[in-house]
C-alpha cells in the first residue's frame, strides 16, 4: 500500500488518523463557511430574492454531490491518495478565494448594463460556473476523506496489505464533517460575518486548509527524495506564508474594496458592510445617497421618489380625520417619515429590523434623513415590524407597511391574513392600514393582476372596508375597520390639505381629483377579473409565489408559463407524482440483482429530501412567528447539525456492538414519518399564544429541540444505510460517494422544490403530508426489498467477520488504490 512508503512506523498511523480527523473537521467547517459566504456574495450580485437563494443552494448541493460521487471516487482509486487529498484541499481553498472575487466581478463579462437585474437562466449558469470548482472539489474531499480515514484506521495491527474496510469509517467521517459544519455555522454567524469581510474569511479558510495540509504531508520532508519533489513539498509552506502575509497586510482589505467597487461599476461606492441581516451598500452621486440592501436600492436621500412617498403617506393621512399615532413598519427613513411629520402627529413609531440601517443612514446624513431621525416625535425601534406590532400595547391611527413586495418569506409576513388580523387589532376605530404593491395605470399583466388580487382577497378576509388607489408604479390599498375611508370624497381631502396647511410637492387639488377618480377603480377591478381568488396566509405563503412569478415575468416570459402552472399545483397531484416515482423506482429496483441497494439509496435520498424540508419548515415557521431569523438561523441549523452528529454517533456505537441494521433502519423510517406528520401542528396555533412571555421562551426551546431531533433522525440513518450497503458491496469510496450524493441530491431537490413550490404553493401542512407520503413509499420499498429474515438479527449480524468477507474477485477499494 502506498502509504507504507510515506509512513515510517505503524504507530504513526494513529497520529495520522488524528490528523485526518482534523482535516475532515476543517473540511466540514470550510464547506459551510464557503457555502454561506458565496450564497451571500451571489445574492448581492443577483439583487437576490428567494428564488435565487434556491438556485444557488441547489447548484451547490448538485455540484457537491457530483464531486463526492464522481471526482471523489476517482481520487480514492488513484495512487498516492493522500497527495491527491492535499492537492484537492489546497485547490479548494484557493478556488474559494477566486470564487468570491468572481462573484464580485462577473458582470464585467456579461453585457449587462450597470444595475441591470438578471434572469433565472443567467442566475443559474453564473452561479453554477462560479461554484463549480469550489463545490466539486469539496464534494470530492468527503469521499476521499472517508477512504483515507479507513486506510489509516483499519491497517493498524494488520501486517499484510490485505485489508478490511470498516463500514463505520464513512459514518465516522460523516460525524466529524458534521462537527466541522456545526462549528462553522456558529463561527460564521457570530464571529465572521458581523466583523470581517468575505475575502478575509476566504483567506482564513485557506490558511486553515493549507495549514492542515502541511501537517498531513510531514512525511514528504524526508531526505533522500529528488530535489523537485522536495521543492513541491515545500509549496504549501510557501503558500501558507503568502496567505499569512495577505491576511496581516492591507492586501486583503484592498482586494475587498477594489472588487466591491468593480461590482458597483461606474457608481461611486462610499460604504460596504455586511450585517447579520444582509449587505448594506451606499452609493453617492451628485450629493445624493442611495442605500442598497442586498443589492436592491431601498432609500434615496435627500431626494426620494416623491410620487411614491407623497401618495403612500398623504392619501391615508388625509383620509383619517385626525391621525395622531402613526406606525411605520420598515422603509420609514428617506421620505415617508418626513411626509408623515407634516401632519399634526403626536408620535411616530418606526420599526426597522436591521439596527445598522438607521446607523448608516445617520452616518451619511442628509437634511431629509436628519430631520426624520432627530424629530422628538419619532421613535426608532430596532425590531421586526410584525414582532413589534404583536408586543406593543398601543393602538395606532395609521399603520404603514413599508414592504412593497412579498417576494421573500421575510417580507411576505406583511401580506398575510394573520398580519392583517393583527394590524386590525392594533388600529383605532377609524384607523387605516396602508399597503403598497406594484401596479400600473396602463395595463396589468395577468401576473401583476394575480399579485394584486391576492393582496385584495387577503385584505378582504379581515377588513370590512378597503379602498384601493391604483397608481402608476405602486397601487395603494387602504384598509380600515371604519367605513369612513370609503366615504371621504375628493373635496374633503382637498379641504384637509388646506386645514392642515400641508406643504406638498405633488399632491394638488387637481392631482387628488385625477388620482381618486372612480374610473381608475372601475378599470382596476376589471383588470383583476379572472384572477385566482386565493388568500395569502402565514403557513401558506402564496404571496412569495405570485411575487416570484411576477419577477420572473420580466426576464423569462416563456419560462413563466411553466412557472405559473405550478401555482395550480394541488396536493393530490404531488401525492400521485410521488407514488408514480416510487412505483417506477421500485420496479427498477426489483429487477436488479440486489434490490436492497437501490432501496437504500432511495431511502437516503428521501431522508435527505425530508431533512432539508424539516430544516426549511422550522426556519420558515420561526420566521413567520418571530420575523427575525438571522441570529436564530445559526442556532437552528446548529441544533440540526448537532442532532445529525449525535444521531450518527449513537448509531455508530449501536452498530459497533454488532446490532442488527435493518430493524433499526425501519424503525427510524417510521419515526421520520410520524415526525413529519406531527411537525406542522406544533406551530399552527402558536402565533396567538405568543403574546405571553412564558410561551415565547417555551416555543424557542421547542424550536431548538425539534431541530435537534430532526437532525438525529437524519443523522442516524446514514451509518445504517452505509453499513447495510457495504454488506453487499465492499467498494467503500463508491458507497460513500453514492450515498453521500444521494443525501445531497435529496437535499437539493428538497431545497429547490421546497422553497419555491411546495412551501409557498401548498403551505406547511400539505408539504408535511407530501413528506409523510414520500417516507411511507421509501419505507415500503425498504421492507419489500430487505431480506425476509431481518426480524432475526442474531442469525446474520452477529458474525461481523463473515459479513466483511469480500466478494470473490473483487479487491477492496482500500487495497486497490492505496
Amino acid at each position: 500500500m502506498c502509504f507504507l512508503r510515506t509512513c515510517n512506523t505503524w504507530h504513526m498511523d494513529i497520529a495520522m488518523r488524528k490528523k485526518i480527523v482534523a482535516a475532515v473537521i476543517i473540511m466540514g467547517f470550510s464547506g459551510i463557511v464557503a457555502q454561506i459566504v458565496l450564497l451571500r456574495e451571489l445574492m448581492i450580485a443577483f439583487h437576490g430574492n428567494e428564488l435565487s437563494i434556491g438556485i444557488i443552494l441547489a447548484n451547490w448541493l448538485l455540484l457537491e454531490s457530483a464531486g463526492a460521487f464522481w471526482l471523489g471516487k476517482n481520487i480514492s482509486r488513484a495512487r498516492k491518495q493522500l497527495n491527491w487529498f492535499i492537492i484537492v484541499t489546497i485547490l479548494f481553498s484557493l478556488f474559494f478565494v477566486a470564487a468570491v472575487y468572481a462573484s464580485r466581478v462577473f458582470k464585467d463579462f456579461l453585457s449587462a448594463a450597470p444595475g441591470e437585474g438578471l434572469g433565472i437562466m443567467v442566475i443559474f449558469y453564473v452561479s453554477f460556473l462560479i461554484l463549480l470548482p469550489v463545490s466539486l472539489l469539496h464534494g470530492a474531499l468527503f469521499t476521499s476523506g472517508c477512504n483515507l480515514y479507513d486506510v489509516y484506521s483499519t491497517s493498524v495491527g494488520s501486517t499484510t496489505s490485505k485489508d478490511r474496510s470498516d463500514p463505520l469509517s464513512i459514518a465516522k467521517v460523516y460525524i466529524y464533517e458534521t462537527l466541522g459544519t456545526l462549528a462553522g455555522g456558529v463561527i460564521i454567524t457570530y464571529l465572521f460575518i458581523p466583523y470581517i469581510h468575505s475575502f478575509k474569511i476566504a483567506f482564513i479558510l485557506a490558511f486553515l486548509n493549507i495549514g492542515i495540509c502541511t501537517v498531513l504531508m510531514k512525511p514528504f520532508r524526508r531526505s533522500g527524495l529528488p530535489l523537485l519533489k522536495r521543492a513541491t513539498g515545500f509549496m504549501p509552506f510557501v503558500l501558507l506564508a503568502l496567505i499569512l502575509f495577505v491576511l496581516i497586510s492591507p492586501v486583503a482589505n484592498n482586494l475587498n474594496l477594489s472588487s466591491a467597487k468593480k461590482q458597483w461599476s461606474s457608481q461611486n461606492l462610499v460604504h460596504y458592510q455586511n450585517t447579520n441581516y444582509g449587505n448594506i451598500v451606499v452609493v453617492e452621486r451628485a450629493r445624493e445617497y442611495t442605500f442598497f440592501s442586498d443589492g436592491v436600492p431601498v432609500i434615496t436621500a435627500p431626494n426620494p421618489d416623491l410620487v411614491y412617498v407623497e401618495e403612500f403617506v398623504h392619501f391615508a393621512m388625509l383620509k383619517h380625520p385626525a391621525p395622531k399615532n402613526v406606525l411605520i413598519l420598515g422603509g420609514g427613513a428617506g421620505g415617508v417619515i418626513n411626509e408623515a411629520l407634516k401632519h399634526d402627529v403626536k408620535r411616530i413609531d418606526y420599526a426597522e429590523i436591521d439596527p445598522l440601517m438607521p446607523e448608516i443612514i445617520r452616518k451619511f446624513s442628509t437634511p431629509l434623513t436628519e430631520n426624520e431621525l432627530k424629530d422628538e416625535r419619532v421613535n426608532v425601534r430596532e425590531a421586526d415590524g410584525r414582532f413589534y406590532l404583536k408586543r406593543t400595547p398601543g393602538k395606532y391611527d395609521v399603520i404603514f407597511s413599508g414592504f412593497n413586495d412579498p417576494s421573500t418569506l421575510q417580507t411576505n409576513r406583511f401580506f398575510t391574513r394573520e398580519f392583517y388580523a393583527l394590524a386590525n387589532k392594533k388600529l383605532t376605530s377609524s384607523g387605516i392600514l396602508v399597503i403598497g404593491i406594484p401596479g400600473s395605470l396602463t395595463y396589468l399583466s395577468p401576473e401583476l393582476a394575480g399579485l394584486n388580487a391576492m393582496v385584495y382577497n387577503t385584505l378582504q378576509a379581515v377588513f370590512p372596508y378597503i379602498r384601493i388607489i391604483p397608481g402608476d408604479g405602486t397601487n395603494f390599498f387602504l384598509a380600515s375597520p371604519s367605513q369612513e375611508i370609503l366615504q371621504t370624497d375628493v373635496d374633503q381631502l382637498i379641504e384637509r390639505v388646506n386645514e392642515r396647511s400641508l406643504q406638498l410637492n405633488l399632491i394638488t387639488p387637481g392631482y387628488i381629483e385625477y388620482r381618486l377618480s372612480p374610473r381608475w377603480l372601475e378599470w382596476f377591478y376589471d383588470q383583476l377579473e379572472g384572477s385566482p381568488e386565493k388568500v395569502n396566509t402565514d403557513f401558506r405563503p402564496l404571496g412569495v409565489f405570485y411575487s416570484l412569478v411576477y419577477w420572473n415575468e420580466k426576464f423569462s416570459p416563456a419560462f413563466n408559463q411553466l412557472f405559473k402552472r405550478t401555482g395550480d399545483l394541488s396536493i393530490y397531484a404531488v401525492l400521485v407524482f410521488v407514488l408514480l416515482i416510487s412505483v417506477l423506482f421500485s420496479i427498477m429496483a426489483l429487477r436488479t440483482q440486489k434490490p436492497l441497494r437501490p432501496a437504500l439509496t432511495f431511502c437516503i435520498f428521501t431522508t435527505g429530501f425530508a431533512g432539508m424540508l424539516f430544516d426549511l419548515m422550522l426556519i420558515f415557521a420561526f420566521q413567520v412567528l418571530y420575523g427575525y431569523i438571522f441570529y436564530w438561523l445559526g442556532l437552528l441549523v446548529t441544533a440540526f447539525m448537532a442532532g445529525v452528529m449525535v444521531g450518527g454517533m449513537r448509531m455508530t456505537a449501536y452498530l459497533k456492538k454488532g446490532n442488527a441494521v435493518m430493524p433499526a433502519l425501519i424503525n427510524i423510517e417510521i419515526i421520520l414519518t410520524v415526525f413529519a406528520l406531527l411537525l406542522p401542528f406544533v406551530f399552527i396555533n402558536a402565533g396567538s399564544l405568543l403574546t405571553h412571555a412564558w410561551f415565547d421562551y417555551l416555543l424557542r426551546v421547542v424550536f431548538l429541540v425539534l431541530s435537534f431531533f430532526s437532525g438525529i433522525l437524519v443523522g442516524a440513518e446514514f451509518p445504517l444505510a452505509n453499513k447495510e450497503y457495504l454488506n453487499m458491496k465492499a467498494d467503500l469510496s463508491g458507497t460513500a460517494g453514492l450515498l453521500y450524493s444521494a443525501d445531497l441530491m435529496g437535499g437539493w431537490l428538497g431545497g429547490i422544490i421546497g422553497a419555491v413550490v411546495l412551501l409557498p404553493v401548498l403551505g406547511l401542512v400539505q408539504t408535511a403530508i407530501a413528506i409523510v407520503f414520500l417516507k411511507i413509499c421509501s419505507l415500503f420499498l425498504l421492507m419489500l426489498t430487505s431480506p425476509r429474515n431481518w426480524k432475526l438479527p442474531s442469525r446474520n449480524w452477529k458474525l461481523p467477520s463473515r459479513n466483511w468477507k469480500l466478494p470473490q474477485g473483487l479487491p477492496a477499494s482500500g487495497g486497490k488504490g492505496i
Binding site: H47, A113, P114, G115, E116, G117, S266, Q267, R285, A286, R287, E288, T290, F292, G295, V296, P297, T300, N303, D305, L306, V307, E310, S440, T442, Y443, S445, P446, L448, G473, N505, L506, T508, G510, Y511, Y514, R519, W520, E522, W523, D526, L528, E529, G530, K554, P557, Q561, L562, K564, R565, T566, L569, S570, Y572, A573, V574, L575, V576, F577, L580
Partner: protein, 382 residues
C-alpha cells in the same frame, strides 16, 4: 380519486398556456359602445390588416421597410417588433385594431407642453416594440407579443374617433408602446381624426424610416420623440442606433407637425455633462432653440431595477446647460413640485405655464403670446 387524476393531468401538462379571461379594458371610456367590443382573445388571423411598407423577395421572403431595423422576415415569422408577420409572402400587422391599453390622460403626461395645456387625450397602446430598453416603463405591453399579453379589445379606427368626439376630448395619442409597430392603425385613426377635426399626437422613439414617417406626418399635429441619449452607448441600452433617430428629428422638424423632445437621464448610461451639452448643441443647430426639451428623472424600473435614481443636481445641471446653449423651453419631469416643472418665457423669464407634476396651476399664454411681455410662444394653443 377523479380529482387526483385531474390534478396529475395538470401537473404533467406543465407548460400549457393559461386561459386568460379578458376583461373589458375600455371601461375607462364610457363613450365607446359595447357593441364594438369583442370579448375574445383568440386570434382571428384572417382579420389582421395587411401591412404597409414592405418588399417581397424571392421564396416568399419579405423585407420590412417600416423602421430602421429593416427586418428580413421568412414565411410564418414575425419581425423584431413581434407585430409584423409574413403570411405566404404577404406582410400583416397583427395588432391592427387590437389595442391592449386605452386610457384618458392629461396631455402633460405625454409630455407635450406646447399643445392644448390642461386638456385630456385618449391614449392608445398595443403590444410590441422595435426597441428593447432595459428600463422600459411599459414593458408589460412593449416587450410582449399580443398572444403573450392575451388582453386586448377590438376597436376599429372609427370607434376611437367616435369615442373622442363623444367625450369631447380634443386629442388622440398613440403612446405607451411604440406607434411605429402599429403604424397602419395609427395612420388610419389619424386620417379619420383629421376629418373630424381632432388633434393627432404620438410619442415615438423615432426609428421610423423617412417614407412612412412623412406619410404619417401629413395627418399629425404633434410628436413627442424620446431621445434616449446622445451616444451609441445610450442606444445600446435599447438595442438600437442613434443616427436614424437624429434624422427622424430633422424630418419632423421640417414638417408641419409640432415637435417636442423628452430625454430620460439615466445615471451611468447617458448622464455625463458632455453628452447632455452635445445633445443640446445639436438640437439648437440642427433643429431649433424653439423645440421644447424635457429632462426626466429616472427611477429603477423593469430590468434596470438596481440603479440609483437620477440625482436632482444632475437634472438641474442639464437644465442649466440647455438654457446656456440656447434652448428656450426646457422643463424637468418626474420631479413633482420642482420649479422647473413649469415653462418660463424666454424673453421676460416670467412663468408661462405653472405646472405641478402634470397639473396646470396657471396659464399665462393668451393667443399664443406671453401675457406679460407679448413674446410669441410657438405651439398649438387652440
Amino acid at each position: 380519486m377523479r380529482k387526483a387524476f385531474v390534478g396529475t393531468g395538470a401537473f404533467l401538462s406543465l407548460g400549457c398556456f393559461m386561459n386568460i379571461k379578458t376583461g373589458n379594458i375600455l371601461s375607462l371610456i364610457p363613450g365607446l359602445s359595447a357593441g364594438s367590443i369583442s370579448k375574445t382573445n383568440t386570434m382571428n388571423n384572417s382579420s389582421a390588416k395587411e401591412a404597409m411598407y414592405y418588399t417581397r423577395l424571392e421564396r416568399n421572403r419579405i423585407r420590412c421597410d417600416l423602421c430602421h431595423h429593416t427586418c428580413f422576415i421568412s414565411e410564418g415569422r414575425r419581425g423584431f417588433c413581434r407585430n409584423r408577420e409574413n403570411r405566404r409572402g404577404k406582410l400583416y400587422n397583427v395588432v391592427y385594431g387590437r389595442p391592449s391599453a386605452v386610457n384618458i390622460d392629461p396631455i402633460e403626461k405625454e409630455p407635450q407642453h406646447h399643445m392644448l395645456p390642461g386638456t385630456n387625450m385618449i391614449c392608445i397602446g398595443t403590444a410590441g416594440c422595435n426597441f428593447r430598453c432595459r428600463h422600459c416603463h411599459n414593458w408589460h405591453l412593449s416587450q410582449r407579443s399580443i398572444e403573450e399579453i392575451g388582453r386586448y379589445e377590438r376597436y376599429a379606427p372609427q370607434d376611437i374617433v367616435t369615442a373622442a368626439l363623444n367625450l369631447d376630448i380634443p386629442t388622440i395619442s398613440s403612446t405607451y408602446n411604440e406607434p411605429t409597430v402599429f403604424y397602419e392603425y395609427v395612420l388610419d385613426i389619424a386620417k379619420l381624426a383629421k376629418k373630424a377635426n381632432l388633434r393627432i399626437l404620438w410619442h415615438s422613439n423615432g426609428y421610423m424610416k423617412p417614407e412612412p414617417l412623412k406619410e404619417l406626418l401629413q395627418y399629425t399635429d404633434a410628436v413627442t420623440i424620446d431621445l434616449k441619449g446622445f451616444s451609441q452607448k445610450a442606444y445600446d441600452n435599447s438595442d438600437a442606433e442613434l443616427q436614424p433617430v437624429l434624422n427622424t428629428l430633422k424630418t419632423i422638424n421640417d414638417s408641419s407637425a409640432w415637435l417636442e423632445i423628452v430625454n430620460l437621464v439615466i445615471p451611468t448610461i447617458n448622464d455625463t455633462a458632455e453628452e447632455i451639452r452635445e445633445m443640446c448643441v445639436w438640437i439648437r443647430d440642427e433643429l431649433s432653440g424653439e423645440v421644447p426639451v424635457h429632462f426626466s428623472r429616472f427611477f429603477p424600473n423593469y430590468k434596470l431595477a438596481n440603479l440609483t435614481p437620477t440625482p436632482i443636481e444632475t437634472l438641474e445641471r442639464a437644465y442649466d446647460t440647455a438654457l446656456e446653449v440656447g434652448l428656450h423651453y426646457v422643463t424637468l419631469g418626474n420631479v413633482p413640485g420642482h420649479k422647473y416643472n413649469s415653462t418660463f418665457c424666454p424673453r421676460c423669464n416670467e412663468i408661462l405655464i405653472r405646472r405641478v407634476h402634470f397639473n396646470i396651476m396657471e396659464n399665462n399664454i393668451r393667443d399664443g403670446k406671453c401675457v406679460s411681455c407679448g413674446h410669441a410662444i410657438p405651439g398649438i394653443w387652440i
